[in-house]
């Protein structure tokens, strides 16, 4: 169940970065985005298959500047080993959603059914609250979120996007490919 993203303030692009796993790298990248006026919609960072590198996935919303400009500016940062825009058609992208719903027990069955439809799981249940966990594309999570709203969302937490390209292509430094 995929849905096209709404783009009210310009197009969003998913940029994948392989960066050196060193102190201050996040600061350098976030600083570049802010001073050049590139709008970060989400940013995730985590370990990769090589401990000396981290992968960042940045979703950037651009109203006027071409995404190539962003990629080239990011590429200039010394700790950035590789950077590429991941094109939607070629992309496996996931976000994680945790939602706490406060709802009487009688609604739980309906919630479970809804969760099942969205391949979500209920990970915590107490008499008048439960926590739903789901992962998937931004579009799918948007849809689920919308449906859950009717039950009374108490608290919501969403991760940024992580993404990989399909096929054998990788974003790895030449010496590690």
């Amino acid at each position: 169940m995929e849905r096209t993203e709404e783009r009210p303030n310009g197009a969003t692009h998913t940029i994948s970065l392989l960066v050196e796993n060193k102190p201050g790298v996040l600061h350098r990248i976030a600083g570049l985005f802010s001073r050049r006026g590139y709008n970060i919609a989400s940013l995730t960072v985590g370990p990769t298959e090589h401990e000396e590198y981290s992968r960042m996935t940045i979703v950037v919303r651009l109203s006027s500047k071409p995404v190539e400009q962003v990629v080239r500016q990011v590429q200039k940062l010394v700790p950035v080993v590789e950077v590429r825009e991941l094109v939607a058609a070629d992309l496996i992208e996931r976000e994680l959603l945790l939602v706490k719903i406060r709802t009487p027990e009688r609604n739980h069955a309906e919630l479970r059914a809804l969760a099942e439809t969205y391949e979500a799981t209920i990970v915590d249940v107490s008499p008048d609250a439960l926590v739903v966990e789901a992962s998937g594309t931004a579009g799918k999570l948007d849809a689920l979120e919308e449906r859950l709203r009717a039950f009374g969302i108490q608290e919501l937490c969403r991760s940024g996007r992580i993404a990989l390209e399909r096929g054998f292509k990788t974003l790895a430094p030449p010496n590690l490919k």
Binding site: V19, E20, P23, G24, H27, R28, G31, L32, R35, P66, E68, Q69, R72, Q73, Q75, K76, L77, V78, P79, V80, V81, P173, N175
Partner: protein, 571 residues
């Protein structure tokens, strides 16, 4: 090589030695003491004591600009480091290779708001190509090697190495200075598939081409390559302020500077061109004027080493990414082939239009009949009396633009100025660095009274070093450029731009122990120029009183189209 135990500070010294550093501009302080101790009585590199770290930074820039080698400055933790910030930002904007070494508080104190602690790597992140906080003493040789490498390669720029005091005093195993670097994310020059044929075809088919030269020519020492290319293509040449000297301005093919204070003929040429060949330039707002109306009919061949400059502001029809020195001869060869195959394009009609503009709208001033000295005349006189054979440094303001307009630069690395950041106070420090870098050559500073007062304390440095620099202060008792904007765009409301007639520059020179002169008339000017040129014992400061209301014309108001220029009216 047998391992040897040395201190971190000594490792820094050895790195400087291995890099062939001649001068270290800086001032000692609490945390950088161990490094100064390791450099005590060292002849190469020699420490140069400045009186304010910003001056050390600019002096290192002046040295780098004048010599093409990396400039090095140092500062202690806290204010010593933050005083370097303006110079580092200046070097970043103007792509000057600069290594700044700062000390920080000891590792255990970092993050505790210790005395003279500042997060200088955090502060300088946006204004350096890269920076390091060295937390492991053993990392010093590698980091120093990387620092010099990154500063001078690719698009040059400033880097900063911050070393905690206890890292400087720690012992390390010295294994020798690394011979190479291994930086996975840094591989200059970046090369895309060069579209030389496409570029040559555009050049072949253009009927109104113009060559636009920027600071990149200087960075890659590509003057000869530019000359050969320009000679073949035969198009009119315009430059940025940092492109001055990339091609001799005394050669009629060169129309000089264009942009906000460029000549009308240079701006008209760019605006009416059908092809802009931009070499090592970045389409700064001070040269393009209003972007939407910039050279509306022109296609663009853009050759630059920094891929992020391509189509940043003006879309390149054909981008060529690479080092000018390597790539431009290939383009020249490709253009030559295209000309041989298809014939050389006839651009005589285009040149006729350009010459008409040049005849009709020359840069001009008239000293005759004037009660006061005109700043343009002062620059012109200086140029004639030196035969243009001098390295010029400037401050920032009206005097800088007068110098850019009237000092015809015929050689590379002859016009040293703060272009991108526009840092007042740049003249004296960069003159110090340039004179040290090129001893025996004539170094002339063209400064303004406002600009001069921002860094004048370092006259002491110039006197101590007996540097025979000659600083001509075009003194109009105003912050002239701002005053010009107030007169033109703020209805003559001169908010805080009039400067008092203080200090007395002749007495000031005397107080610092150097020659101070003053000129109010053309006759006096000639005399003081002769006196200044004859003084080889140390600096000369010349207070040149110029007409207070003189403005820099022509002028493209900020945000106006490039051909929408205003000129002198009655004032």
């Amino acid at each position: 090589m047998a391992r040897e135990k040395i201190t971190g500070a000594m490792a820094v010294r050895r790195a400087f030695e291995a890099e062939g550093v001649e001068y270290l501009f800086g001032m000692p302080g609490g945390t950088i003491l161990p490094l100064y101790d390791a450099l005590f009585r060292c002849e190469k590199p020699k420490t140069i004591l400045i009186r304010h770290e910003q001056v050390g930074g600019h002096a290192a820039e002046g040295f780098a600009h004048a010599t093409g080698r990396v400039g090095v400055c140092m500062g202690t933790s806290g204010p010593g480091a933050t005083n370097l910030v303006t110079a580092i930002a200046d070097a970043y904007m103007d792509s000057v290779p600069l290594v700044a070494v700062t000390a920080n508080v000891s590792r255990a104190l970092i993050g505790t708001d210790a005395f003279q602690e500042a997060d200088i790597t955090g502060i300088t992140m946006p204004i350096t190509k890269h920076n390091w906080l060295v937390t492991g003493p053993q990392d010093i040789p590698r980091v120093m090697k990387e620092a010099f490498y990154i500063a001078r390669t690719g698009r040059p720029g400033p880097v900063l190495v911050d070393i905690p005091k206890d890292v400087l005093t720690s012992e390390i195993d010295w294994d020798g200075y690394p011979e190479s670097v291994d930086i996975p994310g840094y591989h200059p020059p970046v090369r895309e598939e060069p579209r030389l044929k496409d570029a040559a075809l555009l050049i072949r088919s253009a009927s109104r081409p113009v060559i636009y030269l920027g600071g990149g020519i200087r960075s890659s020492n590509a003057h000869k390559e530019v000359f050969q290319f320009a000679e073949l293509v035969g198009a009119p040449i315009v430059t940025t302020v940092h492109g001055k000297g990339a091609f001799p301005e005394t050669n009629p093919q060169c129309l000089g500077m264009f942009g906000m204070h460029g000549s009308r003929y240079a701006n008209y040429t760019v605006q009416n061109s059908d092809l802009i060949i931009a070499l090592g330039a970045r389409f700064d707002d001070r040269v393009t004027g209003k972007l939407a109306t910039f050279a509306p009919e022109a296609k663009v061949v853009h050759l630059d080493i920094d891929p992020a400059e391509i189509s940043k502001l003006v879309t390149a029809t054909v981008p060529l990414v690479g080092d000018l020195k390597l790539l431009l001869p290939q383009l020249t060869a490709e253009v030559r082939r295209a000309f041989e195959k298809h014939g050389k394009p006839d651009i005589a009609a285009w040149w006729k239009r350009v010459e008409d503009w040049r005849t009709k709208h020359p840069l001009h001033y008239q000293q005759e009949g004037q009660k006061y000295l005109l700043p343009q005349y002062v620059v012109d006189r200086l140029w004639h009396k030196t035969g243009g054979k001098a390295i010029v440094t400037t401050g920032v303001g009206e005097h800088q633009m007068f110098a850019a307009q009237w000092w015809k630069t015929s050689e590379p690395r002859q016009f040293i100025t703060s272009g991108g950041l526009g840092t007042m106070g740049f003249c004296l420090p960069s003159a110090i660095g340039a004179q040290l870098g090129r001893p025996g050559e004539l170094v002339i500073g063209i400064d303004g009274d406002g600009s001069f007062q921002m860094t004048l304390q370092d006259l002491a440095t110039a006197v101590d070093l007996e540097l025979p620099i000659k600083i001509f202060v075009l003194n109009n008792l105003f912050l002239g450029m701002v005053r010009q904007w107030q007169e033109l765009f703020y209805d003559h409301r001169f908010a805080e731009t009039p400067l008092s007639d203080r200090p007395n520059l002749v007495k000031l020179a005397d107080a610092y122990g150097c020659l101070g002169l003053r000129a109010d008339t053309p006759e006096e000017l000639d005399k003081v120029i002769d006196q200044a040129l004859a003084n080889s014992k140390g600096p000369t400061i010349v207070d040149v009183r110029v007409r207070r209301q003189e403005k820099v014309y022509p002028m493209v108001p900020a945000g106006a189209p490039l051909n929408d220029m205003i000129d002198a009216g009655g004032d």
